[in-house]
């Protein structure tokens, strides 16, 4: 881990020295010709796309986890769970391909409708071209990709909810949903939080799928229905082939930023999980 940081830093320094602009506030990325680049737009895109993906994926993943742990017929639960796990086995480049050829055209009409109807709402606003290779298309693909991880962890946590508390709730005359709200969800809440954070880390680092979908623009906008989107990881994948020495150093510097962000997110998530584990052990 330390080695990763050390080598990334040492190879990033020359490029950062040569940088004419402020690395943290500059929007554009022209390290090859103008020796001027900044992480601001890319970091913004990374955070926005991941946050959107998380917003979409978490409720569905919790639903999927509940379905498998408490709703599906017992005999079907395991194979259906395996089906969801299969979502994780599809390589990300395939999701990218699917996103570009299938999802992007599919989202065009609803995007235009949202823009016309709720255009006053900043997220759905924007003039000119609506739909296409948008932030929302990338976020949906990211959501699909992180859904299995969140669902798998949430499922484990829900299955660990103490049987005797579930029975206590049922014996009080609770319906299935009331039982879940009384005995399962409160118990699983920290688990869901950390699962979502792991998903967030995964979404931020996801590269190829969004590299194929995002149109590689360098601006900051929250109009997620317009074709303006990019992320650190996508920029590395798209820019690497044509980069010269300074360009590669600049990409390495951006990779370092990504590394630090995901590291923090993951460490926080793991700490929540570990604390819970010890808690459970002490309680047993």
């Amino acid at each position: 881990m330390a080695a990763i940081a050390v080598f990334l830093i040492s190879e990033a320094i020359p490029a950062l020295r040569a940088n004419q602009a402020n690395f943290f506030t500059e929007l554009t990325w022209n390290p090859n010709s103008e020796k001027s680049f900044g992480i601001a737009a890319l970091a913004f895109g990374t955070v926005l796309s991941s946050a959107l993906a998380l917003l979409i994926a978490t409720p569905i993943a919790v639903g999927v986890a509940l379905f498998i742990s408490h709703y599906a017929p017992r005999r079907l639960a395991a194979p259906l769970g395996y089906l969801v796990d299969l979502l994780a086995a599809v390589p990300s480049v395939v999701y990218g391909l699917w996103g570009v050829t299938f999802l992007v055209p599919l989202l065009r009409t609803p995007s235009q409708w949202l823009n016309e109807t709720f255009g006053w709402f900043p997220l759905f606003g924007g003039e000119g071209i609506i739909g296409g290779k948008t932030m929302i298309a990338g976020a949906v693909v990211l959501a699909i990709m992180i859904l299995p991880i969140i669902a798998a962890i949430a499922r484990e946590v829900f299955l660990q909810a103490p049987r005797m508390n579930e029975e206590a709730a049922l014996a009080l005359g609770a319906t299935r949903w009331e039982m879940i709200r009384m005995a399962v969800l409160p118990f699983g809440r920290p688990g869901i939080v950390s699962a979502a954070m792991l998903g967030l880390g995964r979404a931020m680092g996801e590269t190829i799928a969004v590299a194929l979908i995002f149109p590689a623009t360098f601006d900051i906008t929250i109009q997620i229905l317009t074709p303006h989107a990019n992320s650190i990881a996508a920029n590395i994948a798209n820019g690497f082939g044509e980069a010269n020495d300074i360009g590669r150093g600049a990409l390495i510097a951006s990779g370092l930023v990504l590394f630090v962000i995901t590291l923090l997110v993951n460490m926080a998530a793991r700490m929540v999980i570990n604390r819970r584990k010890e808690h459970a052990r002490a309680g047993a």
Partner: protein, 291 residues
């Protein structure tokens, strides 16, 4: 005589609505899977022919039809194999340390924590690291070996975790029986513990391999691109199947996109095959687990 009252309608409706939402969530999760698989199969079958599997892209122009992914398939298999050769021994030794020697001490807890955190390293960062270290710092060439290094960084935590889990499943009685016979600890591990956990570990390794076989980003900056066959992973740029898909998909013409779909189909077949084999091994000789 209606002493048993019915529950209120609002409670019943709420229960039903939630049930509906939960079922809907599951459907929403499965729809993309079906859609992805359907598109990959229907679009990929068109070019899934002998030429695709046995020819490279050497001398095939951007607009030409034909060509294949032979070079990429060879590359992927070699890179993944090498990644396994690197990460399995290290991962296994780490797992053995954690289970057999660690005793929940400070060091083992730190290792365990970092293994967990390593799972979250973005694959593109792993690629950049190998690029920075291997190619920029050591001044070596792009090669399949460099790609394998990057993949092994991604494989390692999965191998450690699954091996650790399997080793913990080995009953302590077995170890104690061996100690009671006066067998040294390392011999107990080699002769008793590892064979017992063997199939489980193989399963874990296969799943880890399946996971990295689909990785594209780290290859991009370590093996680079090539259109010709390079069977030597230690010298010169190679190709990888995911990279092939990415490369072809980014091109504007239909023949290239067709090749991308077929590449995706081949890739999914390889990954699913590995997954299937892993699950079969797990079922075939799993230690009795009450699942």
């Amino acid at each position: 005589m209606t002493t048993i009252q019915h529950i209120s309608t609002s409670r019943r409706i709420k229960d039903r609505v939630v049930q509906g939402l939960v079922y809907l969530a599951f459907l929403l999760a499965v729809v993309p899977l079906v859609s992805v698989l359907w598109l990959v199969i229907s679009n990929g079958l068109g070019r899934f022919d002998l030429e695709f599997l046995t020819h490279s892209m050497n001398g095939i122009g951007a607009r030409d039809a034909g060509g294949g992914a032979y070079h990429a398939i060879i590359g992927t298999l070699e890179q993944v194999l090498l990644a396994g050769v690197i990460s399995v021994p290290i991962g296994l030794l780490t797992a053995i340390y954690l289970v057999e020697y660690g005793n929940k001490g400070r060091l083992s807890r730190a290792i365990s924590f970092f293994v967990d955190v390593m799972t979250g390293i973005p694959s593109v960062v792993a690629g950049l690291f190998v690029f920075a270290f291997w190619i920029l710092f050591l001044g070596l060439d792009f090669s399949g070996w460099a790609g394998a290094l990057a993949l092994s960084i991604l494989m390692m935590p999965t191998v450690v975790r699954s091996a650790e889990e399997m080793l913990r499943l080995v009953p302590n009685d077995l170890r104690e029986a061996s100690y009671a016979l006066g067998v040294a600890k390392w011999r107990t591990i080699v002769k008793v513990v590892l064979p017992t956990a063997f199939t489980g570990i193989i399963t874990g390794v296969m799943l880890a391999v399946a996971r990295v076989a689909g990785e594209t980003a780290p290859l991009l900056m370590t093996v680079f691109f090539t259109n010709s066959i390079n069977t030597d992973p230690f010298s010169g740029p190679q190709m990888g199947l995911p990279l092939f898909v990415f490369d072809q998909a980014a091109r504007p013409n239909d023949t290239a996109v067709d090749r991308a779909w077929t590449g995706a189909l081949t890739l999914i077949l390889i990954v699913m095959l590995l997954n299937l084999v892993a699950r079969l091994i797990a079922r075939w000789r799993s230690p009795a687990r009450g699942r």
